[in-house]
Amino acid sequence: MKKQIIDFRIIDRKMLAGDRYALLKLVVADGSQLPEGIRAGQFAQVDAGCKGVMLRRPISINKIDYATGELWLLVRDAGRGTHAITRLSEGDMLNMVLPLGNTFSYPAAGSKVLLVGGGVGVAPMLQLGIELKAMGTDPVFLLGARSQTDLLELDEFSRTGKVHVTTEDGSMGVRGFVTDHPAMNERYDMVYCCGPAPMMKSVARSARKSGSACEVSLENMMACGLGACLCCVEKTVKGNVCVCTEGPVFNIDQLTWN
């Protein structure tokens, strides 16, 4: 799939969870079609376009709708670059390099799958759920957050599949971490996970215990996103590999996590 540098225009921006996240809906600025074949798990290198930020920021694809030509990004305000991106307005342009990285793997139709997302890590799970559903697999989501107000895009997830929730303060769903939810004890054909590293490691351990296959999406710091700078490496059974090209999605069997 050809990687491209494209100007997008923001047609809608919603702040979520007390201004710490923005949901951006974008279309190609010149009105042309979205690049074909963008899939769940892939990401874009986004030019924050602000003073003092030089490198692009990798942001995963939250949703892509070829019928409407919309691409959604869910962005956490995590520093100067992402702060600037969350503060853009409708009509603003956003330059992106995409599509980058690999995709989640797709199980046979009718497989039993669990899609686990924590914090802004829920972002790729929405598009993955949409794709799985279209392929005849019912997605079951397990979404974790600190508190009810931190849960992102619950309406979108509910529209796509069954949703389990955990909150650390118990304000919604099961109290605790995602791994405290009983759904985590079942065996799945595949557990997909994206979130903070400690959460993914803990989900990976749970998946191993229940005999489930497991794929995680990593977000190591990167400069180029193209496999050229060799900065975003993750230790794997094959040695150091670039998360931007060999990932961001890895089967946990490829990683050296214990």
């Binding site: 050809k2 990687k3 491209q4 540098i5 030019d47 003092g52 930020v53 030089m54 490198l55 692009r56 390099v97 190591n220 710091m221 990167m222 400069a223 180029c224 996103g225 193209l226 496999g227 050229a228 700078c229 060799l230 900065c231 975003c232 490496v233 993750e234 230790k235 040695g239 150091n240």
Partner: protein, 303 residues
């Protein structure tokens, strides 16, 4: 008006224009083939290659800093034999001068890598990295003394029959002395600057930003230092100088050319705009047309 952008660096290294890519920022070229036509580049310098495979340093290896970035990759690569077997056949197709950046822990290491590259006609030149700040053995150790630079250049000169570029470190008291030492041992050209040694601290975590604590600074932040050093070296040596350090566009490239560089390399800017190299060629072309220049040589070393 007919414009001649081609440059001749000597011993067979002729470029259709002065724009090349800096080692370690452009992979093997093919990573950028979706964005640009590589045939439009003067040359491309592939990732630092060593005798044996190297895993490089631990993560994190990168930190963004004001108008620049620190890196501590540590020469991760699969070794020269892998390059010859797997990569070289794939990237030969580009109609642009291929240069292989070479590194080692001893002069013999450098020489052996060059000996293995010598039979590959598609490798127009080697760029000898005596300036990597991110490896414990070799690297910058050779580039910070005249004796070290001379020893590596001598070894490579004997092992490689085509053009030899020696890449210099800015982390020295007198870069011209090192350049002269390389020239005396038969370097066909020198390229500068490699990264400036730097360091950044995450004060919230009270930890260094890089796993190696220190790393190499690149990007626009280093450009004035690089232009100054290119100007000094170009005045001191007779061989061509290749300028690099924070070039992001044609204008930046022209600074180096006016300071005395025959060719230039674009590095960190590839990370931000994967099409920057071809744009720089277009911008240099535009500049020459606007200023009535018919040969890029008219601008070289005018300061």
């Amino acid at each position: 008006m007919e414009l001649n952008l081609s440059v001749d660096l000597g011993r067979g290294l002729k470029l259709k224009n002065p724009v090349m890519t800096a080692s370690g920022t452009f992979g093997y070229g093919e990573e950028f083939a979706d964005f640009i036509n590589l045939d439009k580049l003067g040359g491309y310098i592939v990732k630092g290659t060593t005798l044996n495979p190297r895993e490089g340093n631990d993560y994190p290896r990168m930190a963004e800093t004001p108008s620049g970035m620190l890196n501590a990759v540590g020469l991760q690569n699969k070794g020269v034999d892998y390059f010859i077997r797997e990569i070289y056949p794939r990237i030969q197709r580009f109609d642009s001068a291929m240069v292989v950046n070479v590194s080692g822990a001893s002069p013999d290491d450098y020489a052996e890598v060059c000996r293995r590259l010598a039979p590959l006609d598609g490798v127009a030149a080697v760029e000898v990295n005596i300036s990597c700040p991110n490896v414990k053995q070799g690297g910058m150790a050779f580039g910070t003394t005249c004796e070290g630079a001379a020893a590596v250049t001598r070894a490579v000169r004997a092992a490689f029959p085509r053009h030899v570029i020696v890449k210099l470190s800015p982390n020295v008291t007198s870069v011209t002395d090192i350049a002269l030492a390389a020239e005396a041992e038969g370097a066909d050209s020198v390229s500068l600057i490699n990264t400036l040694m730097g360091m950044a601290i995450d004060v919230e975590r009270r930890r260094p930003c890089l796993s190696t604590i220190t790393g190499g600074l690149s990007g626009p932040a280093v450009r004035p230092v690089a232009v100054r050093m290119v100007w000094q070296v170009a005045k001191a040596v007779k061989i061509p100088v290749i300028g690099l350090g924070g070039i992001t566009c044609g204008r930046d490239a022209l600074e180096f050319i006016m300071a005395g560089a025959t060719a230039i390399e674009i590095g960190t800017a590839n990370f931000i705009d994967p099409a920057v190299t071809v744009k720089a060629v277009e911008e240099i072309t535009d500049y020459c047309h606007r200023h009535g220049i018919s040969d890029i040589a008219e601008l070289r070393g005018i300061i």
